[in-house]
């Protein structure tokens, strides 16, 4: 189970400094921040802008362009369900409908108890063993309703 640090300006500055000398440092910085804090905190945006000599608007534009970067930390677990065609061909839509109903969340939402965030993903490269998903970095294959329930139960 991933655990994240609380935002601190000093730690944010440290992460930015660790990557700022790389060519094209924006994505490495954003990944570094999200790995530490579970999201790209709004307070980090002006700091990144200063470090990279960009405007805040430009940094905001970059952060929001990419699906991966979050504005808030996720729940204790992240379930990324594949919604792409290969998994659709084996019933991914039904699995997704079941999970959304069971967790009572829509895509990108976190359950009321903060335990699970549900994210859509367009392909995990597990297209020969679909429907597939990734639960906190653990790949799951040939999912059906019972299998996804069991995985969520183990995680909680």
């Amino acid at each position: 189970m991933p655990s994240y640090e609380a935002w601190s300006e000093g730690r944010g500055a440290e992460i930015i400094a660790a990557h700022v000398d790389q060519q094209g440092a924006t994505l490495p910085i954003l990944h570094g921040l999200q790995d530490a804090f579970g999201c790209v905190p709004a307070q980090a945006v002006p700091m990144i802008a200063r470090a990279l000599n960009l405007t805040r608007a430009e940094v905001h534009g970059i952060v929001t362009f990419y699906h991966d970067f979050r504005a808030e930390p996720p729940g204790r677990h992240v379930l990324r369900l594949c919604r792409a065609e290969a998994c659709q061909s084996l019933g991914a839509d039904a699995v997704a409908a079941h999970v959304r109903h069971r967790l009572d969340v829509d895509w990108h939402d976190t359950t009321a108890d903060g335990s699970v965030t549900l994210e859509p993903v367009f392909c995990l490269g597990l297209c020969a063993v679909g429907p597939s998903a990734m639960l906190d970095g653990t790949p799951l294959a040939r999912l059906d309703e019972a299998k996804v329930d069991a995985a969520l139960e183990r995680a909680r």
Partner: protein, 505 residues
């Protein structure tokens, strides 16, 4: 005597419990566990192989519950058991293949450079150094290798342009942003034989005079990212990289469009991943404005064997203008889904029925999408189409990165067409209007059609919209999304005409 047992660590094998199988086997006496990539026979994963005097003997699919029975049956000396598959290379699915790019995947320890060398690795790079940069570019051109990302541009010509371009610094960029549903060849190679990519990029760097390489890997592949970073450390430590050429891996952030080469370059530069207008071409003005070769991972990973075995050897395989082999990825609703590398020319029907064994659900095949979310849906009536860049283009389709996704007769093709537009709307970079607005309008129009609202007028509007997107978009996302939409409409019109169908009944 210690018995060597091979258990895959490919992400798909892990998803099917390979880690638990490996750790239980490790406790089962005098065994040495080697974690390999996957051979690509996913219905048999986790496929465990045991080294015996007669060669490797495979068992699969092995679950934790099977292990005590397997050990009792003498698995560690190749004993008989219902899960015993025999010698893997004699399994029909593997025996029918021509494994060149994937020759080592599933066989070697992916993080052993000694293993890599023992199985023919680094011979291509040595050959390149022997014949020099110009002859290397010429050899790749002569081999007929074309871009395996889908565009099919001749790799040697691209290299020649970059070699001839003036620039103090040049780059090799590997596109490992394998976002097409139904494709997993890049992932398998990065997890199962990462040194072949390193060698291919080192050859490219030597050939065009580049000093730095970047691999842009999608964030959805955490296992590939980790394995490849470790492989880079090993290659640097052992002197394969470092002197004159080094490689850095960068991780994407969930944007499908970054698989488009110019978006990828903008993303590597730290910007929004938006498509660039061409010209200038990346070979003249690419990453950070410098001459850049940007190739698909499979293209680069095919170069070492071409250098090692020669241009003629490679060129003699294939059909028409599609030379060499293609790692075709059989996916979706198939009984035998997996990686099938063979010469161009095999027909779609052979792939789906003979090799793939028909659907996993046992129902009739209704549609096959080839080439990812931008590829056309093919009905069984077109199963005689040979796997070849030109033959698929002639049928208003594309082979893309080699993904083949099979659907049974429960699929609703109007829904698939709508999904294509929805996917395009979600993933559009927003730079050009046909893609950004057209995809949203496309969803709406398909909804109207399915609702039976002004059917003929809206069908005409959809055709017109697809025409505009095809010819007016800046890149292949907006430009090719009409393929799945129009092929669904052409081959399965009955799925779009709900109201009319109900009225007729």
């Amino acid at each position: 005597m210690t018995t060597r047992v091979y258990v895959p660590r490919d992400a798909a094998a892990l998803a099917l419990g390979a880690d638990a199988v490996a750790s239980l086997l490790r406790q089962s006496g005098d065994v040495e566990i080697v974690r390999t990539g996957s051979r690509g026979l996913f219905w048999l994963e986790p496929m465990v192989e045991v080294a015996t005097p007669e060669g490797r003997i495979a068992y699969g699919p092995v679950t934790v519950a099977d292990i005590s029975g397997l050990l009792d049956a003498g698995m560690l000396s190749g004993g008989t058991h219902p899960l015993r598959l025999g010698r893997p290379e004699e399994l029909p699915f593997l025996a029918k293949q021509t494994r060149l790019t994937f020759a080592r995947c599933g066989i070697v320890d992916p993080l052993s450079l000694d293993d890599y060398r023992a199985h023919g690795g680094l011979k291509g790079l040595a050959r390149a150094k022997e014949i020099g940069p110009t002859a290397t570019v010429e050899l790749v051109t002569q081999s007929g290798l074309r871009g395996r990302g889908g565009a099919g541009f001749p790799t040697g010509i691209k290299w020649k342009s970059a070699a001839d371009a003036a620039g103090a610094r040049k780059y090799i960029v590997c596109n490992a942003d394998e976002g097409d549903s139904g494709t997993y060849a890049d992932r398998m190679l990065m997890e199962g034989d990462p040194f072949v990519l390193i060698e291919g990029m080192a050859i490219a760097g030597f050939a065009v005079g580049a000093t730095k390489g970047y691999v842009y890997t999608r964030s959805e592949y955490p296992h590939a990212i980790a394995t490849f970073n470790t492989a880079l450390d090993i290659a640097r430590r052992e002197g394969v990289l470092g002197e004159g050429f080094d490689i850095e891996q960068r991780v994407g952030a969930g944007a499908y469009i970054c698989g488009e080469e110019t978006s990828l370059l903008d993303s590597l530069e730290g910007k929004r991943g938006q498509v660039r207008a061409k010209p200038p071409l990346p070979v003249h003005k690419g990453l950070f404005g410098a001459p850049t070769v940007i190739n698909n991972l499979v293209s680069l990973a095919s170069v070492p064997v071409i250098l090692d075995k020669g241009a003629e050897f490679y060129r003699d395989i294939g059909m028409g203008r599609s030379r060499g082999t293609m790692p075709i990825q059989l996916a979706g609703n198939l009984k035998y889904a997996g990686l099938f590398e063979c010469g161009f020319g095999i027909t779609l029907g052979e792939l789906v029925n003979d090799i793939g064994g028909g659907t996993r659900t046992g129902r009739p095949v209704r549609a096959v999408q080839v080439g990812g979310p931008l590829g056309a849906y093919f009905p069984p009536a077109l199963f005689d189409t040979p796997f070849d860049y030109e033959a698929f283009a002639a049928k208003d389709g594309l082979i893309g990165h080699g993904g083949v996704v099979v659907f049974d007769d429960t699929v609703d093709m109007a829904r698939q067409a709508r999904f294509a537009m929805e996917f395009c709307a979600t993933e559009s970079c927003g730079k050009c209007t046909p893609c950004r607005i057209g995809s949203v309008r496309g969803m709406e129009v398909i909804d109207h059609i399915v609702a039976g609202d002004k059917l003929e007028a809206n069908l005409e509007l959809l055709r017109d919209l697809c025409h505009t997107m095809k010819f007016g978009s800046l890149c292949a996302l907006g430009g090719f999304i009409p393929y799945p939409v129009m092929s669904a409409l052409e081959h399965w019109p009955e799925d779009f005409h709900t109201i009319r169908r109900e009225a007729a009944e």
